[in-house]
């Protein structure tokens, strides 16, 4: 293959024919994290403590110590995160194939439905409607679910009520369908988890986690700027931190979008 693909890409990036969209939320102490019943273990929120800031702790330099759980902010879920993926090979963030870290993405826009119903469930019918317009979801693609949930913040974003969180997400059938019938590489959402807020009551519970990780596929959550992506023609870069035996990690998610595909 003599064609200089990377050279062409560099030229397209420089010339603006390919845009980069940052799909990442800023890591701040205030960003909600998943909440478990208090007697269970909890994911540590993002925290930053100053080591020095051009002061007695370090006269010429500024730096901080960070602490956070693996599943904080915009983050990646590896198969080992769920029991269904625990025995798979290469199932943690340090061992997963680097080739899986760059892949095409299909964007399915369910923002209108989610605006009307916080418990909106994404179904096979929504996928079918999307495929009627844009064609079959290619194998090893990400499916990103746009809900515009990332435009909310604080209490509205977490939307915790006495009976748990109420945020949109996939039903069990669509997750089985996407993994088994479409061979997706992963599923991404704007909410705190890949699953719906009430997904603990589904069968199986937390179907996105159940099916994705059981088949060695990945999850992305707390994504932002999905409203700036076209339905197809996007390539996303998702390289989690290389944490030994890590179940996931915060990461920077970059989308490469070819201008003409916005048409």
């Amino acid at each position: 293959m003599s064609y200089d693909i990377l050279g062409a890409l560099a030229a397209a990036l420089a010339g603006g024919q390919v845009r980069i969209v940052d799909l990442t939320q800023t890591l701040t102490p205030d960003f909600p994290v998943i909440v478990m019943p208090p007697e269970l273990g909890q994911s540590a929120p993002f925290r930053m403590e100053r080591i020095s800031q051009y002061d007695a702790g370090g006269p010429a330099w500024y730096w901080n110590n960070l602490s956070f759980g693996e599943h904080t902010g915009t983050h990646f879920d590896a198969p080992i995160h769920w029991y269904t993926g625990r025995d798979l090979p290469l199932n943690s963030v340090d061992t997963m194939p680097p080739a899986d870290m760059i892949a095409p993405a299909c964007l399915i826009d369910c923002s209108e439905q989610s605006a009307k119903d916080a418990d909106f469930l994404f179904t096979v019918a929504d996928v079918a409607a999307w495929e009627d317009r844009h064609g079959r979801i290619p194998v090893r693609s990400w499916v990103l679910l746009r809900t515009d949930w990332s435009k909310k913040s604080g209490a509205a974003y977490a939307n915790l009520l006495a009976d748990g969180a109420h945020t949109p997400g996939p039903d069990a059938e669509v997750m089985r369908f996407l993994v088994e019938e479409r061979g997706i590489i992963g599923f991404g959402t704007e909410t705190i988890g890949t699953d719906a807020g009430q997904a603990g009551h589904f069968s199986p519970p937390y179907p996105a986690h159940h099916y994705l990780h059981g088949a060695g596929r990945y999850g992305l959550q707390c994504l932002a700027n999905l409203d700036r992506l076209p339905p197809t023609g996007t390539l996303i870069v998702t390289a989690p931190l290389k944490i030994q035996n890590g179940s996931g990690s915060p990461l920077r998610v970059l989308a490469l979008v070819q201008e003409r595909s916005m048409g």
């Binding site: 909600p32 925290r47 403590e49 100053r50 604080g154 915790l160 009520l161």
Partner: protein
């Protein structure tokens, strides 16, 4: 008659804030028997084990029979004023700021005579008086004499206010509004005349059932405060640091864990972060400014209360993480006490037994209801206490620790 303390006006921004000074504080080691009594609101003097006579000033041997068997024990609180002196001029830097100052020589009902600070409503020589031992701004024990019956506004006497931490017209910060004691504290502080009650809430995105009850208390203002975040604590101090005269740290994080559980280290670290490190972050952010405002007028900064568990003094296996964390908090609190004393700020430790809340659900009674704890804290502030033991379990453990700490350790959890 004492004049009612008026609500303070806004400070003149052109006037320099008066810097805190401390009264003379040298005491003998023996004299700290009085400090111990004053810290818990008891009136104790040395009493001879042989002849039964009370002695004062504090000494090594009985002035009556020369026996060395002088022990501190509770003494009758009555006395009669022999003479009084209204001090108009002094060379002592602390008292110069508080002139005139009323003192008296009192004949105690139990025998000895003592020089005391006199409440403004005490009558002249020959008047009967009630005595208490108080901690002054330097943390040392002094005698204070009140009239035997209540007089109008007697709690507003300026000399008495120097020896207490009355919330009246002061602004209070409750550090953790999700604490089971927060609502009861807000109500008790309001009743005690607190000017404003700031209540810190972490993770505002997580709803909690007491929010409406807190907001319903007049004078309460909910503010963002997450003790596990250095930035959050510092940002609140930037806004409110110079507006907090009493800080009540209600942070706790009770999670059951067994020492040998795989997840126990996580539980311990989380609890340490919420409570020990939380207290440290609070101290770093609010300590310096409170210490600098220890003499800022009649309603200047005055007290820092840590709500602690009695199990910080003696571990209980069922709540081992909680006990360890509370012990660390107590140590940190003593450190803070030493730092804040330089500004005349009192650090109060309120030790409670198990609270009647969800995390102590499986613990049998007696348990402390939040209102009892809140009322005890406000009472302690108004009386100028330093250590408060709330509830039967805390009082029992405190008394047994005083008697035989090893027995308390062996019997814990049995």
């Amino acid at each position: 008659m004492t004049e009612a303390l008026a609500r303070p006006k806004h400070k003149n921004p052109l006037a320099r804030t008066t810097q805190p000074l401390l009264p003379p504080s040298a005491r003998s080691r023996k004299a700290h028997g009085l400090t111990l009594a004053a810290s818990v609101g008891r009136f104790m003097l040395q009493c001879c084990g042989e002849c039964g006579k009370y002695a004062y000033p504090v000494r090594e041997a009985c002035p009556n029979c020369l026996s060395p068997d002088l022990r501190f024990q509770d003494a009758p609180t009555g006395g009669t004023l022999i003479s009084e002196t209204r001090i108009e001029v002094t060379s002592d830097p602390y008292y110069r700021e508080h002139m005139p100052w009323r003192t008296g020589l009192v004949k105690l009902d139990c025998g000895p005579s003592a020089v005391v600070h006199l409440h403004g409503d005490c009558g002249g020589p020959g008047s009967p008086l009630t005595l208490t031992l108080q901690l002054d701004r330097a943390g040392q024990a002094v005698f204070f004499a009140h009239p035997i019956s209540e007089t109008p506004n007697m709690e507003d006497d300026p000399q008495w206010r120097e020896l207490t931490a009355d919330p009246k017209h002061r602004r209070v910060l409750i550090s953790d509004g999700r604490s089971p004691v927060a609502v009861a504290l807000a109500l008790a502080l309001k009743k005690a005349g607190a000017a404003r009650i700031f209540v810190g809430i972490a993770d505002r995105w997580k709803p909690f059932s007491e929010q409406a009850a807190l907001e319903a208390v007049e004078g309460v203002e909910l503010v963002d405060l997450d003790l596990t975040s250095e930035r959050s604590v510092q940002e609140l101090a930037m806004d409110l640091g110079a507006k907090v005269e009493i800080l009540i740290n209600t942070a706790d994080h009770v999670r059951p864990a067994h020492l040998f559980d795989a997840g126990a280290a996580n539980s311990a670290r989380e609890a340490m972060d919420h409570t020990v490190m939380g207290l440290m972050r609070l101290a770093q952010a609010f300590g310096p400014v409170m210490r600098s405002r220890g003499a800022d007028g009649a309603t200047g900064a005055v007290a820092w209360v840590n709500v602690l568990s009695i199990h910080g003094l003696s571990s209980v296996p069922q709540f081992g993480v909680h006990s360890a964390v509370q012990a660390a908090c107590l140590s940190l609190s003593q450190w803070l006490r030493g730092e804040l004393r330089q500004g005349g700020i009192r650090v109060v430790n309120a030790f409670a037994g198990p609270l009647d809340t969800e995390w102590f659900q499986t613990v049998p009674p007696p348990k402390v209801v939040p209102k009892t704890l809140a009322d005890a804290i406000v009472d302690g502030l108004r009386r100028g206490l330093e250590d408060i033991y709330v509830g039967d379990v805390a009082k029992d453990i405190a008394a047994r620790l005083f008697d035989n700490p090893k027995a308390v350790e062996r019997e814990a959890g049995q």
